[in-house]
Subunit: 303 residues, 4 copies
């Protein structure tokens, strides 16, 4: 028995299921104006960020989460120049966006400055200087307010928001009205990508509702997924565009574009892409059976 194996982060996924993570040290643990936030040093996954009791990313596998979120949309677009990141406090989504040499402007809007400041200090392996990139504009605003107040349009918009927990700051960023607003802020050929929660037969209500809701606002919508070890589950993403069909990009074409842009990736490539966009039959059926539309007047919150 060592002298430091007594601190555990227990992430409940239902009243009778949970994951346990041994924690070496809690580097920070406090409430911002919006959320309960922790930075912990876990034994297994290295440094982890926890918001409202849910792990957001881990040192060991954040590259999977962030490559999966960013690159399909960015590569489907032939030359993304302007990108908007909503949320993404760790700075790693921004980091992956900036890998694309076509990018001239990357706006990041995250409401919670306290979280971003914390990440700047404690998660340097996440952002790696991306906040200081001359192409970056960092704003601490409500993303919806920002989009309503600014008529700027983007080639790619990426949503990297915590899940919509009861009364959390992200609840109004998953509604039909919000996606319609996003559609108006996308350039021709523009693409939206976002993380959309668990993707398994046991937990996919959030995914299905978001998927169905985006369909009301944007023409072409696809689910995809990646297994994130620290989440202990396949995780879902959604990509949406007026006219692009991401699943139709052949692996060889994806590999070609990655080379062309001179990027070194660890998780994502053509074969990875093919696997991500091929969704198992039971998930497709369960997703497509869902008729919920999230509306400003009919919000959802997850466990």
């Amino acid at each position: 028995m060592s002298t430091n194996d007594h601190k555990w982060f227990i992430e409940h996924t239902s009243p009778s299921t949970a994951h346990m993570f041994g924690v070496k040290d809690y580097l920070k643990s406090f409430r911002t104006r919006f959320q309960q936030v922790e930075i912990a040093e876990s034994f297994f996954f290295g440094r982890i960020l926890i918001i409202d009791g849910k792990i957001q990313s881990s040192e060991l596998d954040e590259y999977i989460y962030h490559e999966a979120l960013v690159h399909p949309a960015m590569l489907m677009h032939e030359a993304p120049r302007s990108v908007l990141v909503i949320g993404g406090g760790e700075g790693a989504t921004l980091r992956e966006v900036l890998l694309h040499p076509t990018v001239e402007r990357a706006v990041m809007v995250d409401i919670d400055q306290e979280v971003v400041d914390l990440c700047k200090e404690y998660l340097q392996d996440w952002h790696r200087g991306s906040f200081d990139d001359p192409r970056t504009e960092l704003l601490h605003l409500d993303a919806r307010q920002y989009l309503e107040d600014h008529a700027d349009r983007f080639d790619v918009i990426i949503g990297d928001l915590p899940e919509p927990v009861e009364a959390g700051p992200a609840q109004k960023l998953f509604t039909r009205q919000f996606y319609q607003l996003i559609n108006r802020r996308l350039n021709e050929g523009g693409i939206l990508a976002l993380q959309a929660g668990d993707f398994s037969i046991t937990f996919m209500d959030a995914h299905s509702a978001i998927y169905n809701t985006i369909k009301q606002a944007i023409a072409e919508v696809h689910s995809y997924r990646a297994y994130i070890p620290s989440f202990n589950t396949d995780w879902s993403y959604i990509v949406a565009s007026k006219d692009k069909k991401p699943a139709c990009l052949e692996p060889a074409e994806i590999d070609r574009r990655i080379r062309e842009r001179g990027m070194q990736l660890k998780f994502y490539d053509g074969e990875t892409h093919r696997g991500m966009f091929a969704v198992p039959r039971d998930l497709r059926e369960k997703r497509d059976a869902k008729t919920t539309v999230i509306d400003d007047k009919n919000l959802i919150s997850i466990y």
Copy 2:
């Protein structure tokens, strides 16, 4: 607080990571000659089978595990007539095999009769009468001994064995010598499929070692994977054959064969297959870097 939320199955995956499952009732809990076995009624996943502290399958998602294990190999073969199942005590692997109308003979060899008898009684939703099918031959022998003693050859051999824990009964069924023996017991065009442990960057040593070991014995070897909710991870499988290339089967062809054989599946189809066989880049690299060969004189055991 209810009066029955105090029994937990805690599955450690490392000293500092674990999954918790709330248990309604332990229906059985005992040691066979070979293994510690439990049948539990869990709140979330329904009935579960636990061997040596590791969940083997759950009522809620066993169809994923078993469809993924059986159908790729069975459908790659144009007309599998004789099938050997090694392990598979629940009877669900056998059940999926028998769905294929071409099958004339299905031999199942599971060393632990106590486990099989337990499954017969408690896991009726798993086997659904497959033990009583006239095509079935059920034997309680060491599978290696059986293959050495019998010269019968098979179109498909399926390995559904618990992981090779220290001194467990399955340790000698993961070696180069064993796979060479299997190769000799496969008909021309014959195919081996087996479950091969966790498949994530954090846990894939067993998969990589098994994959590399099979390569020493059988010409064509492929990894594939499925996310199993009750395992909390992507799970790996391996399919091996002298001359078939499973990843080359196009989705449309798989769907055609399923229709042709008149099978109703929940998880597996052409698109599912495509997703399963497209392995992410980081896993491919980590797998291919492994040079371990499991030998009768160099056994492995997993945590």
Copy 3:
């Protein structure tokens, strides 16, 4: 990591405090007509009995619990001939009662025959034949009904009931009316003893309420306590009589009576008695500040 360290009994004492017990095997786990019952083989405490998620007694320390419950009352009485045990399904309270050679009749009333039958089969080290003693009368009735229907009086009445959980069978056996009934069924010089829940500054509401309630019905009431390792807390008892002052028995007199009755005890003797009846100041004050009276129309239930 052994192959059998995955089953845990987690006893919550509040939403944010709990005790964990590693379980080797669940020998039985089922619902009787009244309660959720388990017999488990724990690694640390040996066999344990769990009712409605709360440990009732353990092989390792049941002697402390039962000696503490039975002997103060039995020894305060100079010659107890007739004894009534209410509850006490394990048979160990009965066992301690029968150690006193003066006893001619021991009636045990436990409503839940399924629990008693289970204990007969699985807890032989608890009852040790006491159910078969010719002085024993075992009845499966509601204790309150029994006392109302029978005018028999007793020298000592011992309450060994699970705590009054919501809608549990014992809720009406902790009320003022019930204690008044008991008072009428006590002979002159008769004594009531009962277990009365946790006894610590953090958990003693049940104790205080029961103590205060008995005071409304029986003249002389005393709290006492013993530390029970498997309960992880000091546990409280109450002894009540018309005219005896248990705390006034000097250690030497208790030791003399034990010798006189020829009993071999492990936990209880004169010095133990002195320690049990000397209640710390903070507990006395907290107990005495409580004005709750449990009434048939004002039941309590504990967490």
Copy 4:
């Protein structure tokens, strides 16, 4: 499910037993030169201090621990003028010592300045200004070295040390040689009191060994105990002197001395004292059967 019920402190007491404490926030978590230290805000017990994975004291019940440690020895002595506290980083032992108006000099020697500084900042309800009392001398030295280098003698010496874990700083402060040194530093009529670990039939090896060891060095030795809710167990103390018999002080005399010194206590008084010093029979027997003597060349360490 609230957004902040995911941090748990799990204190293992054996491989198969543990206590769980829900933690609101970890205020500090780091390694000093000697120990792993945490200050946490727990939901149930308020602020807690954890050293090397073991809870040292809690806001809710530290008064029990510290009154029990300090006052028996201080009141047995008719007029304690000089007191030495060894360890006691929280400052609460010092606080209780300074309540006695006879005290003119209180030396506190705690090797770990980082812990003391932390307690000064975070545990103000513990020390309440005692570090600033003009009678206090605070030194950060190895206590053994201090006693060897200084010939000063004391009326009362109080040991408030963490348990002797493997290679911990306190291992050499529980040996025969150390107690002999203490004996030489006690004035005539001087008294030693110390905490001595768990006191239950399941965990009392440390207590028994310390008790037996002190007997080799100081003539009159007594065990006593108090239940500490946040420790989930009866806790043991030992008081030793050349000529005083603490158990012989009658409750009335203790109450008289407390009044005489004008002290307001919450836990300790005459009746409490009586209960503390009356040790149950099984513990006495188990303690007295132990023959271990802890020697500089035969150290012990606890789980």
